[in-house]
Symmetry: C2
Subunit: 246 residues, 2 copies
């Protein structure tokens, strides 16, 4: 049973997120169906993490144990892609050791938010960027985003559902903002992300960048659990899983 | 009757091109319907040029004569956009003189082809790039594209339909290729483009870049009408009207 690490790109728009659901309309469901058809037996796909419905992936990672004997690893992407919708593509496959686990071996992940900051959303950015029409103060946004860097208790930046009790400390290695014309890009590189954490961080940072909340509101939420939840959740449009670090 | 120059962006995918057609599913049709509803009278939209079905525009230009009295010019984008599908947006409007004509006053146009040059088309590039899976020699592609620069008879690079007889000389100010990972970008800046000319130039250049035709095949088509048509038409996916120069 060789263990294979797959790198997968997808347009999140048509799917109900990554993780398998009874509806069968998730990325994991499509991958498992394609692999089962290919191998003639059911195959479980272990993702590095869940992405919400509508969230895109430039390079999601997942491992699978393929029944022996199997095709050469180099042929897997083409064979699997032939049975997948075009909005999901296996872009790479390589053999890994039996102890490797897509989720537990991950050292971190990189997420990116694309924000279209102009009165009118560009037609080619529909579903590809979060539209924020109000003026944003770039210096304030940069300062807000930089607050997330380092080791913090992100309790306030995790949705209640699926948040592990008492284990909400994570480290953000870097949090950066770039502006190119109307496009703001927020990139978060961290050792792990809680449920909805990127969306809640981006929502809070833009709220401060627009001047609707003071900087202390954000930093207080990082320092004291008693502040409750940060509660401004950015939409899934515009969120990209850039890569998983191993 | 103030004359207004509109700058328009659109996702070409849902439409049958720019120019008005009986089906009513073109960008011009949608703009005219929106303006008619706004002004209470029929309004003719004069575009700088036609784009084919599926071709995108970052900044198409068109002029309209609006009935007097009318709203302030600064309010036009929001008012028109409120009646347009989200895939078409008026991004700017400004008053121009009565002699200005979107098509006849244009000094030139810039078109761009996005080519995804990898075995697998990235899911987020579906409809946004032309997928060329075969290896492309970048130096050869650059040389091929540069052949188009200058003043030439582009008879071979114009589709028969709608090509003016005896007037196929155009000047390409610059033709450039950029590579960023799997993405090749071909940018053509010219004083005018014949019907399907950009698609035929890109198709020919990629044919040479892949080594399927010699360089002389392309340059002969630029030099001698007797060579006939170049005949490799790139698909509309991946073609963008970047801007109209005045």
């Amino acid at each position: 049973m060789p263990r294979i690490l797959l790198t997968i790109a997808y347009d999140g728009h048509p799917y109900s997120g990554w993780q398998s659901q009874p509806c069968g309309k998730t990325v994991q469901d499509h991958l498992e169906k394609s692999l089962a058809a290919l191998c003639g037996t059911s195959v479980r796909v272990h993702g590095a993490g869940r992405t919400d419905g509508g969230v895109h992936a430039l390079a999601q990672s997942a491992h699978v144990d393929l029944p022996d004997p199997c095709m050469p690893v180099g042929k897997i992407p083409v064979a699997v892609n032939a049975r997948l919708p075009t909005q999901i593509r296996v872009v790479a496959a390589r053999r890994v050791g039996p102890d490797f686990h897509a989720r537990f071996s991950a050292k971190g992940k990189v997420y990116r938010y694309r924000v279209w900051n102009a009165p009118t959303l560009h037609p080619l950015e529909i579903g590809r960027a979060w539209h924020v029409p109000e003026p944003v103060d770039l210096a304030r946004l940069r300062e807000a985003v930089s607050q997330f860097e380092g080791r913090h208790d992100f309790f306030a930046f995790a949705a209640n559902r699926r948040t592990p009790v008492g284990n909400t400390v994570r480290t953000i290695r870097s949090a950066r903002v770039r502006r190119e014309g109307a496009l703001l890009t927020l990139t978060f590189d961290g050792d792990g992300f809680l449920f909805r954490m990127v969306r809640l961080m981006a929502g809070a940072a833009l709220r401060v960048g627009k001047g609707r909340e003071p900087m202390e509101w954000l930093s207080d939420h990082l320092k004291r659990r008693a502040q409750g939840k940060a509660r401004y959740c950015a939409p899934s449009d515009g969120l990209y899983l850039v890569r998983v670090r191993y």
